[in-house]
């Protein structure tokens, strides 16, 4: 009984630890912003804590850099289970503008398992609150992939093996005078 009660309380008392693994600060200050009077996430029991040992959720900002990946992993390991990881902002979600730069490993998902993505550059404070609300089940997610086809294509898709083939192969001509 007590156990289920404790588990229930997880969503109502989420202590978060924010780790910037190399972002630009923008998401950081928006995360700080959600603590402040206008947004005040403390009303959902969310509190910022200084030590990962006390944390229930980690808010990651910034891409995973080679320099900080280890520290990020250590911070994640230091958190007691059950734990959630939120990737806040475009860098944490997808690597941002520098996703393939040699200083950058990529999105934080490459280093630690991410539970929720909150895209935005930086996400509005509302978007961050929304992310937390999705996580604790207050609201449903709205995001869904979009696929649009202008026409159905009977044409067989190009395959690299066929590049030098014959017959039905589409001929590729190098554009001239570019």
């Amino acid at each position: 009984m007590l156990e289920s009660l404790c588990a229930q309380m997880f969503g109502r008392s989420l202590w978060v630890y924010h780790a910037n693994s190399g972002g630009c600060n923008g998401c950081d200050i928006e995360v700080l912003n959600v603590l402040t009077p206008y947004y005040d996430v403390e009303r959902f029991g969310i509190k910022l804590v200084g030590s990962p040992r006390h944390a229930d959720a980690m808010l990651c900002q910034g891409p995973a850099l080679r320099a900080t990946a280890d520290a990020l992993r250590r911070a994640y390991d230091a958190m007691p289970a059950p734990k959630l990881v939120f990737a806040i902002g475009s860098c944490a979600c997808g690597g941002g503008m520098w996703y393939d730069s040699y200083a950058v490993l990529g999105p934080v998902g490459k280093v630690i398992p991410v539970n929720f993505y909150v895209p935005g550059c930086p996400p509005r404070p509302e978007a961050i609150i929304y992310g937390v609300a999705v996580a604790v089940g207050l609201v449903d997610k709205k995001a869904a992939p979009v696929r649009f086809k202008q026409a159905e294509f009977p044409i067989p898709l190009y395959h690299p093996d066929r590049l030098h083939g014959e017959g039905e192969l589409v001929i590729y001509e190098s554009p001239k005078g570019v």
Binding site: G22, G23, P37, Y38, A67, Y102, A103
Partner: protein, 563 residues
């Protein structure tokens, strides 16, 4: 005329070593000299002409001129002049005499140049790696043109530990960072402490390298880079955005229409407002005064909202493209903005008067983190750090850009040199920013937002731009290039210089004061570390003792270049 005068004066002393000089305008001067004479000339400029050191730049110019290029930038603030001394170095042996002995502030920039471009500063007193990791193989320099932006060299050993210096005798080591509640960004300090007293520190920063400059030089185009520049820093992004655009504009002689300039000024000041309020909040949070933290964020919120209404985002305004701006401020928004400013001033005044009378806050900030005039000059500190030490510099007035030449405002200075003075400077600057925005709104005239650019930008031109960020001067250096992108783009954020003052500021203070001292420069590691390297570590801050500084200041003439 100033640029010409200065050039003539310089020519009087160094006529034999000056190869060429470009005077694109009255506010810019590029002098190409023999590499052997660089140190002497820099000494002359820094000590005799009393210029402010800005930054040193190394560039791989081999695909174009077959040589390496090194530039030392200085600013003559009173004369509104940005000045660059350049020298071409032979491709087979890129070495240049270090100027850090005569210009201590150049220490980091030279080490960075050595790491990234492979230009060896000969005679540098502390040649520890600054930006590249110890694991990085020798002789691989990511900023050279033969390296790709996504190339990871062989021989990289991620498991290797940092090579820290030994702590002084009798001192314990307290690590600070990389993740610490007061640091919004990763940075690592190793504090040498004796009891509660900090006796020194070693800084391993440059952990926020994302490869920005390299991306700009190899992947993106002129008009994409402003968006990239903006994301150098999430707080003063617009500053980098504008500075980059202005550097390119100054290189290509494009002048944006007046309305665009006013809008740039307005957005920059909005950014300063939100940044200063943010800083006051964070500083209070650091000293445990959470109520004021909450209230300055509350007061700041309307600014974020109005910025969102104007630009479509609360913080990343994505304002500039080359030759203009993307968003207009309609007359409705003008009214709304005025209203926001009124509310801000009304709310901020009582806060300022409450805080300035607060003994409790003063107890934590007075006499803490002292950076005096001399330290400011030696490390080239800028912005509120300099102004709180009575150094009257402000790029908005000294190197007018955007619409700042057409508005009136006061440059706030304080004499206390400590955290308290920096707090006062920032609190008072809020009112000046509001004043500037009001004037801009009044004077803004109708007109186009972007200058028409009809042909591709000429390659090989150089542009300098200084923009006053909330933290101090942001300096951008651009060499235009082919393929619709610059050849070299160097960003110097204000924290790059200010951070070099931190070890002196926290020396012989308590650990408890370390955080607020560091916080008082409003550190922005993402700005400072914007470079293009992989993990970067073990940059030790050279601890300049007071004697050494004095000595450097008074030192006899540096060794003659002929020797």
């Amino acid at each position: 005329m100033i640029a010409r005068d200065l050039f003539l004066r310089l020519k009087g002393s160094f006529s034999s070593v000056i190869q060429r000089a470009d005077l694109p305008s009255d506010q810019r001067l590029f002098v190409f000299v023999e590499p052997a004479a660089l140190k002497n000339i820099c000494y002359h400029i820094f000590r005799v002409f009393d210029a402010r050191y800005v930054i040193s730049i190394g560039a791989d110019d081999r695909p174009y001129s077959g040589k390496f290029l090194v530039a030392h930038n200085f600013a003559f603030d009173a004369d509104h002049l940005l000045f660059s001394v350049l020298a071409y170095l032979p491709p087979e042996k890129p070495e240049v005499e270090s100027i850090s002995e005569v210009v201590p502030a150049a220490s980091w920039a030279e080490r960075e140049m050595r790491d990234l471009v492979g230009i060896e500063p000969v005679g540098h007193r502390y040649l520890k790696r600054l930006v590249l990791p110890d694991a990085w193989p020798e002789g691989v320099h990511p900023l050279r043109k033969d390296m790709a932006w996504n190339e990871v060299p062989e021989g990289l050993d991620n498991s290797r530990e940092f090579m820290f210096d030994d702590p002084p005798e009798g001192c314990a080591v307290v690590p600070f960072g990389p993740f610490h509640p007061t640091l919004d960004e990763p940075a690592h300090f190793r504090l040498y402490v004796e009891g509660e007293m900090v006796r020194g520190c070693e800084y391993r920063g440059f952990m926020v390298h994302r490869g920005i400059e390299k991306l700009a030089e190899s992947v993106l185009g002129y008009d994409d880079i402003p968006m990239l520049a903006e994301r150098i820093c999430g707080i003063c992004g617009c500053v980098h955005n504008v500075a980059y655009a202005q550097a390119v504009e100054s290189a290509a002689a494009i002048s944006p229409p007046p309305r665009a300039e006013y809008i740039r000024s307005i957005m920059l000041e909005l950014e300063r407002l939100h940044s200063h309020l943010l800083w006051v909040g964070l500083a209070c949070h650091i000293i445990g005064f959470d109520t004021l933290f909450m209230h300055s964020f509350r007061i700041r919120e309307p600014i974020m909202r109005i910025a969102e209404k104007i630009s479509g985002n609360r913080k990343t305004y994505s304002l500039c493209v080359i030759g203009g701006v993307r968003w207009d401020i309609s007359s409705e928004l003008k009214g709304e903005l005025r209203h926001v400013l009124d509310g801000l001033e009304k709310e901020w005044k009582p806060v300022v008067s409450a805080v300035t009378g607060d003994k409790n806050v003063q107890a934590r900030t007075r006499g803490i983190g002292v950076a005096n005039r001399q330290l400011v000059k030696e490390v080239g500190a800028v912005g509120p750090v300099a102004r709180a030490a009575g150094v009257d510099i402000d790029c908005r007035r000294d190197h007018p850009y955007a619409a700042y030449g057409r508005v009136e405002f006061d440059v706030i200075t304080e004499q206390g040199c400590d955290v308290w003075s920096r707090l006062l400077v920032r609190m008072k600057e809020v009112f000046q920013s509001a004043r500037i925005i009001r004037q801009c709104l009044d004077k803004m005239e109708e007109g186009p937002l972007q200058a028409a650019i009809t042909e591709e930008l000429p390659p090989g031109r150089m542009g300098l731009a200084s923009v006053e960020a909330p933290r101090g001067e942001s300096h951008h250096f651009v060499i235009t290039g082919e393929n619709n992108r610059p050849r070299r783009w160097r960003v110097r954020a204000p924290t790059y210089q200010n951070l070099q003052a931190v070890p002196m500021m926290i020396k012989d203070q308590r650990i408890a004061d370390m955080t607020i001292s560091l916080g008082s420069i409003d550190p922005c590691f993402s700005c400072t570390d914007r470079l293009e390297t992989i993990e970067v570590r073990s940059g030790t801050v050279r601890l300049w003792t007071q004697e050494e500084l004095l000595q450097a200041a008074r030192s006899k003439k540096p060794g003659n270049s002929g020797e």
